[in-house]
């Protein structure tokens, strides 16, 4: 009744091609942005900002990165955390080498380093496919995390072997390091994620996105209609690693405030792959849903017994969380193999014709 496009006429192609052609969608996204940018920083406490929203956005960005590669181009990758690590370490090296330049510039710039590494490890994708490619990306994952431990140059030869985020300011306000406020960091993460999501949504609607999807659907056929496979696949690796690299840099600089190599281990890669698949392969909004489900759900599960006054040991809660998350993953896949994004679409469709069944 409320959500339908009846009566909204388009008078130009540009209007017809808009990201949100329906007025209600535009209102919806505006409301979400206002909540995210104004209401949460104003009323949220530090726990919500620091331990829920910031990580959620970081994971969402990493999921978008992986989704561009796996969901849109059809190249399965298990090296996401490795590429995130490249971003984080590159950002650390850059900001310690050139402390005068603003750290936000370096966070974004480190994505390019990550993209270069991604292209390097993407080279085998021309010859190998499917699970075989997944193992090739595992090589990247293990090699990179070995580098993070064994190459002291990466963490400036400090004894702990960990990277510690120095304090950097923007207009006199500390944005990274121990003195920065969670609110500041949250807003920066939010800004970067919103801009990069918008870029990604335009990218996949344009020529490159269509090339990627053609390759995903059938690469030989795509080659026959004149898409250069090498370029397309490597571009997908580059863009995907760029997103993952920025996400990794944000993770260390704006969330953790310091990290060891172990943060970027194989389990992190799997977690992000989870988010992408549960959220929905080939869907940007799905990346957000997936990140929310996989990251926020365990937090809620941990809080619930304490809130209800059920006396459970912390370790038991941890184990139960594993069991519940595992069962939920299987459950979601059985109910809707195309992920939460498809559920969202079905819901929207139902809403359009409501109160009639069709």
């Amino acid at each position: 009744m409320f959500y339908r496009e009846a009566g909204q006429f388009k008078t130009s192609y540009t209007a017809d091609m808009a990201v949100f052609p329906i007025l209600q969608d535009r209102i919806g996204i505006a409301v979400v942005l206002v909540i995210a940018a104004v209401i949460i920083p104003l009323f949220g406490n530090d726990f919500l900002l620091q331990a829920v929203m910031t990580p959620f956005l970081v994971f969402a960005l990493a999921s978008i990165g992986l989704n561009l590669l796996t969901g849109y181009t059809g190249l399965l990758s298990l090296g996401t955390a490795g590429f995130m690590g490249v971003g984080a370490y590159a950002c650390y090296k850059l900001t310690t080498a050139f402390p005068g330049v603003n750290v936000i510039i370096w966070i974004v710039a480190s994505g390019f380093v990550s993209a270069a590494v991604g292209v390097l490890f993407g080279l085998p994708s021309l010859r190998i496919k499917g699970f075989y490619l997944a193992v090739a990306t595992l090589a990247a994952q293990f090699f990179l995390s070995w580098c993070f431990i064994r190459v002291p140059w990466l963490f400036n030869y400090n004894v702990s072997g960990a990277i510690e985020v120095p304090t950097r300011t923007l207009f006199g306000v500390p944005v990274t390091g121990p003195n920065s406020l969670p609110v500041t960091r949250y807003l920066i993460v939010l800004a970067i994620v919103v801009v990069m999501t918008w870029l990604a949504s335009n990218l996949i609607r344009g020529r490159f996105g269509r090339m990627w999807m053609a390759v995903r659907d059938m690469d030989i056929a795509a080659e026959l209609i004149g898409i250069r496979l090498l370029h397309t696949k490597l571009l997908a690796f580059a863009v995907s690693s760029f997103y993952c690299g920025v996400a990794g840099a944000m993770m260390v600089f704006l969330w953790y405030g310091g990290a060891e190599a172990d943060v970027f281990n194989i389990n992190q890669s799997f977690t992000i792959l989870f988010m992408v698949i549960i959220g929905g392969l080939g869907s940007l909004i799905g990346s957000f849903f997936g990140a929310a489900l996989i990251y926020i759900l365990p937090i809620i599960l941990r809080i619930v017994p304490a809130e209800l006054g059920v006396p459970l040991h912390a370790a038991t809660v941890e184990h139960l969380t594993f069991i519940i998350v595992g069962a939920l993953i299987i459950g979601f896949l059985i109910i809707e193999p195309h992920g939460l994004a498809r559920l969202w679409q079905i819901g929207k469709q139902k809403l359009r014709v409501w109160p009639f069944p069709y």
Binding site: A139, H319, V325, I330, I334, P337
Partner: protein
């Protein structure tokens, strides 16, 4: 020049200089190769029969070993515990088929792959909840596995062979041989191969897919139990084993996803290559290259033979 010397000449001089060390390294590689092969075998069994890339194989190894040790700690005699564990793995196979595979039939591979991820999480949680997360000692001697080492005089020195490793080698060989016979000679084995070739054709000649899936998952469970016992006896039973199980992936790549002999040969190549690489070339790069060397070997290998050593040739049609 110096670097080239260190990479291409020095390691071989070392090998020639101390042949007993070389033999020892080869043996260590062989043994870990066999254990990789056993894990890979579990993957191959399930992949062949259901096309599912079972990520949970690693945690199944841990889970089986934990169940065995956990039961023993609760006072169940060792052999009875072994029998009960086998029954548990059968139960697991049944529930996986009922609750996971059957509702997901006909879904794309990646969805099934993800579902086994869910299974992994579930089993990690369940295993830790029931048996606790601490590493446990495998009840090797109670199960009649030998202990200690034999010193063999060989190649101008002594090579020490752990008895448990020899036992592992023998058990693995027996297992592979019996699986091969099972696949080639028995009625169920033929049905399994038929399912592997084509689900639809197998269904049309009256083979029950459900039954076959239970059987392969059970077989993979038994393989997991054997792997768990062997690996547990060498180190200890802990959840870290699950990461080691990822090493089975390069093995699968070398051997091809559908070939049992491939899993064995691939495992041996990876195991030996890794140990030799770590021992002779590792110090050049700083140690620990074992963690990624196997994947790199597989990666280089893939560039030349994308379908693995024994895999079927990939033919693509439009």
């Amino acid at each position: 020049m110096d670097l080239l010397y260190k990479v291409f000449i020095d390691p071989f001089l070392q090998m020639g200089g101390a042949p007993d060390l070389l033999v020892q390294t080869l043996w260590d590689g062989l043994v870990s190769g066999i254990l990789y092969s056993l894990i890979a075998l579990g993957f191959v069994l399930i992949f062949k029969a259901s096309g599912v890339f079972n990520f949970a194989q690693g945690i199944m190894v841990v889970f089986a070993a934990l169940t065995l040790v956990g039961l023993y700690e609760h006072g169940v005699p060792a052999y009875l515990a072994l029998a009960i564990t086998v029954v548990v793995m059968l139960g697991l196979a049944f529930s996986v088929e009922r609750l996971m595979l059957r509702p997901l039939v006909n879904q794309p591979d990646i969805i099934l792959f993800m579902a086994t991820f869910g299974l992994t999480y579930f089993l990690i949680g369940l295993g830790e909840l029931v048996f606790g997360g601490d590493p446990k000692v495998m009840i090797a001697s109670e199960l009649g596995l030998p202990k200690g080492a034999i010193e063999v005089k060989m190649a101008g020195g002594f090579v020490s062979l752990q008895k448990i490793d020899i036992a592992a080698t023998v058990i693995a060989s027996v297992m592979v041989a019996s699986l091969a016979v099972f696949f080639q000679k028995t009625r169920i084995g033929r049905a399994l191969r038929a399912v592997a070739d084509s689900h639809k054709a197998a269904l049309s000649v009256g083979i029950s897919l459900e039954q076959i899936w239970v059987i392969v998952w059970f077989a993979a469970g038994v393989v997991a139990l054997a792997t768990g016992i062997m690996w547990g006896a060498r180190s200890e039973v802990s959840f870290a084993l699950q990461i080691i199980a990822l090493k089975a992936l390069p093995v699968l790549i070398l051997g091809g996803f559908t070939s049992i002999p491939g899993a064995i040969v691939g495992g041996l190549i990876i195991g030996i290559g890794e140990k030799i690489g770590e021992f002779y070339w590792g110090p050049l790069l700083g140690s620990g290259i074992e963690s990624w060397l196997a994947y790199m070997i597989a990666l280089v290998f893939l560039l030349f033979r994308p379908q693995g050593l024994f895999g079927e040739k990939i033919i693509e049609r439009i």
